[in-house]
């Protein structure tokens, strides 16, 4: 019994380790080669950047000839502001939908989560026109508004499901204490939804950070370029300079990696907190 258990546990580890390697290998390859000279990249792609192979020229071109700090600032601004808006407005709407009965409540609830099924991308034609008419073309605001609209349905869906499962008693006792509805939301509901915030955040953040479509169309300007678009452009500009391209990719990966490692515990705890029961 104990032996079969050991064996199966070793088997499980073997499978998971194999898959982990598959997940990590490509990243490692990029980072390793970004520190090598062009000749070394080609001659010995899997070799470590040691001795003759080592070169930091790629990073020189990235740091001197491009605006990656600017792109990062843009991506960070867009992602963070959109996230805050999605979380706050989403929680507010979900609270209204789950807490109060009012005429048309289920209809508006359905209307608000319709967007999960219908990607805004399909409205690009009109969206571009709208953004231009509002004078928002080539601004980060345009991206933030679009991403907020895009992220709201799933946020509202998850929050509503979660809030419905939370007992009403806490809120009712707060009401008896004489708290206004606004204070109930901020002081009772917000702490309540904390476990699912991470879930919503991850589900909203990934498509925003990684999006190529809307930056390419709504805000392709130099000043509003996001990291994803910046990398795409950089690859085009330094076609044959692989050291630089790989360095740019590494530069784009590292901050995400660091942020992820710091927050991964909360993120995964959030996802598995029982919010997304499916």
């Amino acid at each position: 019994m104990l032996i079969t258990q050991r064996l199966s546990s070793a088997g499980i580890h073997a499978v998971l380790i194999a898959y982990s390697l598959l997940a990590l290998f490509p990243l490692a390859l990029i980072v390793i080669n970004s520190f090598k000279s062009k000749k070394a990249i080609f001659r010995d792609p899997t070799g470590l950047p040691l001795g003759d192979n080592f070169s930091s020229k790629g990073y020189d071109s990235v740091l001197n000839n491009s605006d990656f700090p600017l792109y990062f600032g843009n991506s960070l601004t867009v992602t963070c502001v959109s996230l805050v808006l999605i979380l706050l407005l989403g929680a507010m709407a979900a609270h209204a939908l789950s807490e109060y009965r009012f005429p048309g409540d289920s209809l508006i609830g359905l209307y608000l989560i319709l967007g999960i099924m219908v990607p805004i991308r399909l409205g690009t034609v009109a969206l571009l026109q709208l953004i231009v008419d509002l004078g928002l073309a080539n601004t980060l605001t345009a991206l933030i508004l679009v991403y907020t609209a895009q992220g709201l349905p799933i946020a509202i869906f998850i929050f509503t499901e979660f809030l419905r499962s939370v007992s009403k008693e806490i809120k009712d006792s707060a009401r008896i204490d004489g708290l206004s509805e606004y204070r109930i939301f901020f002081e009772v509901v917000i702490p309540l939804v904390r476990p699912v915030i991470a879930t919503v955040a991850v589900f909203s953040m990934i498509p925003i950070w990684n999006d190529l479509w809307f930056p390419l169309i709504l805000s392709p300007g130099e000043e509003t370029r996001t990291v994803t678009l910046g990398v795409q452009q950089f690859i085009g500009q330094y076609t044959v300079n692989w050291g630089a391209v790989l360095a740019a990719l590494s530069v784009a990966i590292l901050p995400v990696l660091v942020m992820y490692i710091i927050f991964s515990k909360q993120l995964i705890r959030g996802i598995t907190a029982g919010a997304v029961k499916g």
Binding site: K39, F42, D60, S61, L63, N64, N65, S66, D67, L70, L128, Q129, I131, V132, A137, N138, L216, I217, L218, P220, G221, E222, E223, Q232, Q233, I235, G236, Q237, T239, V240, W242
Partner: protein, 415 residues
Amino acid sequence: MAINAMRSGLLAVGMCLTGTAAAQTVISIESWRAEDQAIWDDLILPVFEAQNPDIDVQFKPTTATEYNAALNARLAGGTAGDIITCRPFDNALAMYEAGSLAEIGSIAGLSNFSDVAKAAWSTDSGDAKFCVPMASVIHGFMYNKDAFAELEIEVPKTESDFYAVLDKIKEDGTYIPMAMGTKDQWEAATMGYTNVGPSYWAGEEGRLALISGDAKLTDDVYVQVFEQMAKWTSYLGNGYQAQGYTDSQNLFTLGRAAIYPTGSWEITGFQENADFELGAFAPPRKDADSKCYISDHTDIGIGMNAATENKEAVMKFLEWTTSAEFAEILTNAAPGFFSLSTHDIKVENALAQEFVAMRGECEPTIRLAHQILSRGEPALGNQLWTLTANVINGSQTPEDAAKEAQANLDGWFKP
């Protein structure tokens, strides 16, 4: 590099201070020559800016493959740059007809260009002109001189020479005979089909015959070019189907391939990256008795975004691009882009000279599908990309590809 960093640093600061800064007019150029950023930033624009301190010109390129789509989006959205680098013929014409490009016939310096050059950026009647002709590029082949010397090969003159050379390189095995891939599709069509094609369809004669309806793409002379493409397959590198344009560039500049079908626009990049000696030769003629033809393509023009708010500054800049000074800087700062102006400019770069020399021996023409034939759906220009790639990949026979191209053209084109 340091200058660049400072430049972008200042730019960033400048952006924050917009409004408080001096009354300088800032205009920007849309271009697909992302590779030339440094040339424009360091060599071309400073000259203009020194003469016009009140104008700040910024070069803002988009990658070539994304240029048209991104530019159209920006034009539709009103966020496009003030100056637009124009592709020739149908593409720019459509942009003019859509009201995106302004009429610029009033530029006095236009008299410095031949009618042929101006035709690429005029309406069919020639009444309206929408871009100043800038440069042409010459198609041909580049080769690794060291490799040729090592294998004791002569530069090929005729089709049979050409294949003899390829066979010899292949037999030897040290080098991949030819660096070209089909993944990006345009590479196959531009470097292959339109590069060697003129020798078969007799340059302008064959191109104009298609437009007048006297010839069809299914005629022998055009099918033969597809047949050539099919023959090329065996000389390409392993896995050429997944080889993109930049892969080809790397393959050649790393010295792993001996011949690179290309055009003069590669000169700067290649001379920077290759550590062997580069040479160029013209597309092979059919046989020793026939004429040779080159595609001397009117490739780049420069025009004004009709919606610009800095019309005066833009016109000033466009006027400058007609000057001998600009022609001189361009020709020698970006060797391989040959000024279309009638100014007498001496080409200094040796490799560029080799390309220019081809003009002396061969009849010039432009790329087959650019004029008139790419005005409908589907545009012949795009068709040729996919079809040439298919023929090289062996998924379509030359006859089949020719038939499909003609059938699609018949769908909308009336000679």
